[in-house]
């Protein structure tokens, strides 16, 4: 039974483990899914940003070309470069015509490297001068004390003569970082020399970072990183990073985990309850069956109430109850048969009194009890006087009837705790336990008198008879067998004396003479 319950419990636990494992797998799968989604999101953002950077680059180049190809610029530059007039009109023209351009720095560099338009633009002019040696027009990134800058430049021609270069520059500062498409979970920042120098979120500025970093942490946020190329670059330029805030990702995962834990907990509870219910449903009837079989094995046949259920265990229990009922009936029959047999073995079939064999069984018990209680066990040996003539004269049927009536009268006048035996033929024994020897003698006398007045009708005649009694006390010092033999022997001797004394009298062992016959008594 325990193993069965353990198995059920094991199955339930296995189910729980399976559930937790599947939910764990689900969590891992969701984690992987969200992780992959984050990766793809970052890649998509990087692609978008790349496109945006490229679009900005081309926008800058287009704006530089707009400046360079604007006819008045050529004319004005011509006036400055070829005619040698002052560059102020060029600056005025620039202010008037190109103030709208989304640029932080402007430069018109003459072909002889004079800065004609552009305040404090020596650094920009140097870079443009070098760049236009490589290509007449183009874009590049460079970095100096002003920060990271993107520059686009284009040549200015007038009347097919190269006069100079128009350049526009944008400083890629924090404002620029914030304006880039990076959505709410993303962040752009610049690193240089192993340290974040500027960021769309101030919390990241100043944090250390190496070139191969994949994540960076700051201000309770963790960012997954991808590196964006700033090309073409002149000299050593900062690295542009795009970070995707993993905190939001983690929050989502935590939310998933909490949901999964909730599902797992509630499911486990439900499974456990179902498991316990199943265990209870299966094991209780089985336990009852096992207990009953144990009782049966121990020799008892308990009552097993029948179940109204129709499941297999209930049907089995009902069958078992039927079987127990049948066994009980059989046992009762056996007990009855045994009782009958016992009765037959221990009683005399004619008189219903115990037979001599039963005397051997009960005597030790009675003697032992007498010993325990400090009393004595007395035997009254009774013999019907002149019984043989009754048989011979009136037949055995009448003799048997006399014996039956004798036994009935004996039962009537003996005490409830007295044992009555037919020792054989017309000889009987009364065993009585008492401490009163005189009482025993009185009992014997009472029996003698009762028998003397008894009349038995047989074959139209009325028969009477008397009895002779020999009384002796069992010797408790002897063992039971010897004591019985001794008691019977001495009772028989007393009986013999009563017979010898004239019958119809009571003789007590060790006392002489025998008790005389009462005057009203008949003789047998």
């Amino acid at each position: 039974m325990h193993s069965y319950r353990v198995k059920l419990l094991a199955y339930t636990l296995a189910l729980l483990v399976l559930l937790v494992a599947s939910l764990g797998f689900t969590y891992r799968y969701v984690y992987a899914l969200i992780d992959e989604e984050g990766r793809q999101h970052l890649a998509a953002m990087a692609t978008l940003l790349h496109s945006h950077l490229e679009a900005e680059r081309l926008d800058d180049l287009r704006n530089a070309k707009i400046v360079a190809r604007y006819p008045r610029v050529g004319e004005y530059l011509f006036a400055v470069v070829e005619i040698g007039t002052e560059p102020e009109p060029l600056r005025i023209l620039y202010e008037r015509e190109f103030r709208w351009m989304p640029a932080d720095r402007f430069l018109i560099l003459s072909r002889d490297n004079r800065i004609l338009v552009g305040d404090d633009a020596a650094d920009l002019a140097l870079q443009v001068r070098n760049a236009r040696h490589r290509r007449p027009e183009g874009t590049f990134y460079f970095y100096n004390r002003r920060g990271l800058q993107h520059v686009a430049y284009a040549p200015i021609y007038y009347q097919n003569r190269f006069l100079g270069t128009a350049a526009i520059g944008r400083v890629l500062d924090r404002r620029w970082l914030r304006e880039q498409p990076q959505n709410r979970n993303g962040v752009l920042f610049l690193s240089y020399g192993g340290r974040i120098i500027d960021s769309a979120r101030t919390a990241l500025a100043g944090l250390p970072i190496d070139d191969g970093a994949t994540t960076v942490e700051g201000a309770a946020h963790r960012y997954r990183l991808t590196r964006l190329q700033l090309l073409p670059a002149v000299g050593d330029v900062p690295v542009l990073w795009l970070g995707l805030d993993e905190t939001a990702l983690r929050d989502r995962l935590d939310r998933h985990r909490r949901i999964i834990f909730l599902i797992a907990g509630s499911s486990a509870l439900v499974i456990l309850l179902f498991g316990l219910l199943i265990i209870r449903q299966f094991t209780r009837p089985l336990s009852e069956l096992v207990a009953i079989t144990r009782e049966v094995a121990e020799g008892r046949l308990p009552e097993l109430p029948k179940s109204t259920r129709q499941d297999e265990i209930a049907v089995l229990a009902n069958h078992f109850a039927d079987m127990l009922q049948a066994l009980r009936r059989k046992e009762e029959e056996v007990a009855q048969a045994r009782a009958e047999l016992q009765k037959t073995a221990t009683t005399d079939s004619l008189t219903g009194l115990y037979n001599r064999r039963h005397l051997g069984e009960v005597f030790p018990k009675l003697l032992a009890r007498a010993r325990r209680q400090g009393s004595s066990l007395f035997g009254i040996l009774i013999d019907l006087d002149k019984f043989k003539p009754i048989n011979d004269t009136h037949g055995h049927i009448c003799g048997d009837r006399v014996l039956e009536r004798f036994a009935a009268r004996l039962r009537e006048h003996s005490r409830a705790n007295d044992y009555l035996f037919r020792m054989g033929g017309e000889e009987f024994l009364v065993l009585t336990e008492t401490g009163d020897r005189a009482g025993v003698v009185a009992l014997a006398e009472k029996l003698r008198q009762a028998m003397a007045t008894l009349r038995v009708a047989c074959n139209g005649q009325t028969l009477g008879f008397t009895i002779s009694c020999g009384v002796s006390e069992a010797d408790p010092r002897l063992d039971t067998t010897a004591s019985l033999r001794d008691m019977l022997s001495r009772a028989d001797a007393a009986l013999y004396r009563a017979k010898q004394s004239g019958r119809n009298r009571v003789c007590v062992d060790g006392e002489a003479p025998c008790k005389p016959i009462e005057p009203d008594a008949d003789t047998g």
Binding site: A79, I83, T85, E86, E88, P89
Partner: protein, 290 residues
Amino acid sequence: MLNRHPHLLRLLLFMPLCLVSPLRADPADKPAPPIVGAGAHFAWVIFNELKPELERASGRHLELHGRHSALGMGCSAGLKNAARHSPMNETFGFVCCAIDDAELARRGLVLHPLAREPLLILVNAANPVRNLGTEQVRAIFRGTIRNWREVGGPDQPIVVVTRLHCKQRPGHWKRILPRAEDFRRDRIDVASAEEMVRKLDDFRWAIGHLGATWAFRPEDRVRALTIDGHAPTAANLAAGRYPFYRQLGAVVRADARGDVLKVISAVEQSRALRKVARKYELLPLTGKRP
């Protein structure tokens, strides 16, 4: 029978009335299309100033194009517009050049000279030079004089700004130098009068030329020089003291008839033209000289 059927009589009398019903439209009632004039800004100014008077004289609405020579307007546009003339679509053109007879004949047009316009020699208002000699002007535009210092000004290079349009026609800037090749090569050649003003405004040491009828704005920082001590006025033109000028006129198809000729005739005979001439220092070439 008619006496016995008065209704029939009335019916017979009514039928001829139906034939002359006013339900039929009269073509004369349809409004006439406007007479369209187009061309150079400088002659447009004259027609635009006289427009109400000309419309009264011709009984037609006038539609004039040419302000600031915008939308591709110019002498060539004036010639093309005049050539498009038809009885149902009457047109004429404005020109700022003295179109020669050969071109007029080739195009089937007739030129009606209206006025002579001084050609202003303009400099930036900040330029201290106030007067140049005729030859100095020519030398500057030729490039033989390249610094204001040479004409009494500051030591600054001279930026020459030109608008050498109508190159195949006589007059105009050719009063300065007869051929485009004669102008200095390192000059700024602009495409419009407006751009000319803008350049002269921007470059303090520039010099350019422009017709007197140009509508200068108050904020334009340009100034006209006197030439040989003579201002660009109609009087100096009439006296031959101011050397640079051009001819403004109108062109119509040679076979043109009708109201467009009334318009041209009204301009030529208008007293109001005198008023316009005084306003822009023009020398009228029709009727009595002012």
